[in-house]
């Protein structure tokens, strides 16, 4: 009987197997990378498109604004909306008011906050912990809880019968301290605490008193922290809406946020969207530029005290 021996089946060698495995892993990796970059593209579009659209709308001719389908890239730029808002006295007044209020309230908050933070951050005294708790709680204080009482106090209808400062910038500057002051104290306290003690000690050994140490050593060192805190507080004051809406009723004292929210047309059908977008861009662009310039500092300031590590 003849037995036939069939030739051995070609067996995949280990090298072949490794090759196939690598091919599979490479495809998997490729897919992963593609998805990753898609995700990044999506994040970029999601975060940036609305502002892009506001800019585009602000530069679009009224006649084309209501085109359907909408055009995403304007062929011709219309600057008339920007001309309109910069010729609008109420808007210019609102810009001035916002600037005055924000700068003033931040200046006061920084001055009081810096010395308070120095005490909380570098000195030990009884009641320090309670003060820290109070300050931290105040940073999350709901403004609406005191809206009515503040309204009465602003009009002078309260215990101390102060003059009526309704519809003035002073009212806003003072009430904004509700959130700017605790914020500056809290962030600066963390900042002062993180500063090394050697410089102070050297100065103390040399016989310097606490005021000199503060003015000539700590304050210059704290300058970057003051700038960051001031910037964040400024942004918070600039963006504030509830108090500005409630404590003002004329263009003399209105801030820019209220002005934008009230950019209404004369009739129900008159919707000045392009003008409103132009105003929005003007009000926001400086903020965005500031935030991008001071990115790192802002990120550090935002997470101070919120994340312990």
């Amino acid at each position: 009987m003849a037995t036939t021996v069939s030739p051995p089946r070609p067996r995949s060698t280990e090298r072949d197997q490794a090759f196939v495995h690598t091919r599979r892993v490479n495809i998997g990796k490729l897919l992963g990378r593609v998805l990753f970059w898609l995700l990044i593209a999506f994040i970029l579009v999601y975060t940036l498109f609305p502002f892009y659209w506001a800019i585009v709308s602000s530069l679009t001719f009224d006649s084309q604004l209501f085109n359907t389908p909408a055009s995403y890239w304007p062929s011709k730029l219309d600057w008339s909306h920007y001309q309109y808002i910069f010729r609008n006295n109420d808007f210019l007044l609102a810009l001035r008011n916002s600037t005055i209020v924000s700068v003033s309230t931040v200046a006061i908050a920084l001055a009081l906050g810096a010395i308070g933070a120095y005490a909380l951050g570098r000195l030990r005294f009884r009641g320090r912990t309670i003060a820290l708790y109070v300050i931290l709680s105040m940073t999350m204080f709901p403004a609406v809880a005191i809206l009515g009482s503040l309204f009465q106090m602003i009009r002078g209808d309260w215990l101390l019968h102060t003059p009526n400062i309704y519809n003035t910038l002073t009212a806003l500057i003072v009430t904004y301290l509700t959130f700017t002051l605790p914020f500056t104290v809290w962030v600066l306290t963390n900042f002062f605490m993180a500063m090394p003690g050697e410089l102070e000690e050297a100065a103390l050994v040399d016989g310097a008193g606490p005021f000199r140490v503060f003015w000539q050593i700590l304050l210059p060192l704290a300058l970057p922290g003051l700038v960051t805190t001031g910037l964040l507080a400024f942004i918070a004051a600039w963006n504030e809406f509830l108090f500005a809406l409630t404590f003002t009723n004329s263009a003399d004292a209105r801030t820019v946020q209220v002005a934008i929210s009230q950019f209404a047309g004369r009739t129900q059908f008159d919707q000045p969207y392009a003008n409103r977008m132009a105003a929005s861009v003007v009000v926001t662009l400086p903020l965005i530029i500031l935030v991008l310039i001071f990115q790192r500092r802002i990120l550090a300031g935002l997470t101070t005290g919120a994340v312990k590590g």
Binding site: R124, L136, S137, A145, G148, L181, E198
Partner: protein, 318 residues
Amino acid sequence: MSEVGIEVAPLPASTKRGSAWAAPAGAIGRSRERLGWLLILPSLVVVVIVALFPLFETFRLSLTNTRLASAREPRFVGFANYEALLAATSPFWGALRNTLEFTIASVALETILGMIVALVIHSNFKGRGMVRAAILVPWAIPTVVSASMWQWMYHDVFGVINDLLVNRLHILDQKVAWLANPATALPAIIAVDVWKTTPFMALLLLAGLQVIPGDVYEASTVDGANKWQQFWQITLPLIRPALLVALIFRTLDAFRVFDVIYVMKGEASETISLAVLARRELIGNAKLGAGSAISVLIFLCIAALVVLYTRMVRVEEL
């Protein structure tokens, strides 16, 4: 065996974090303490006048029937305002429902999206700085501006969202009146808030991610863990403190929402939040008593969350 007592000297003050003047005894110590109080006093005075006193006033007013800017003598009415507020037909319940829906949905979405964005930025890739800069843009935009922009995007006839969904991508058949339709109004507003605040969550979570040492991941890779396992068993537990702080912070922020709702829908009942309702009663209806009752309730909810938050941050350790 006799006990060997080793006296451990307390650490000298200068090696403690920063402070050079801890616990000097005697007159110098007392004058330092006076100085400390002197420096913090102005800030505390301002806080008392501008925040704590008005808060006390709000509590007091809620027990009266005071009217805003009125010559009528107010009367003490006890809890009458609260009874009216919590009655079945009171607008309070609608506002509470809207506020809770807003808070839960916003915070949940912001946390999930924020986590994704944080993980993306945390991984090393070219252009990472640009992405981190890009996500700061929604954060920097004022809430009123953001509401105005989205209001225009949501326009039922000429808005770009309807244009995209209906004309370009053909996902929907008909344009939707996102804000006018009561069913879609609150979700639409939630989407705006999510857009605006996800960057903040992402940054908080990113800070938490960056504290995790890389060795932990390396060790787990050696043990054969894949990315999914690494996330659930290493990243999430280690990021828990940052996550909790961010959650509490955002929750109490969302609970007092005012700007975005007022700008986009005014006082419409399908979207009215507790804060908008409070203002309507206080200023619109000039009912200082009733409005203050709402304010007190808002404050108590937020206070509970604040207590939770301050315990997490652990002020004593500062």
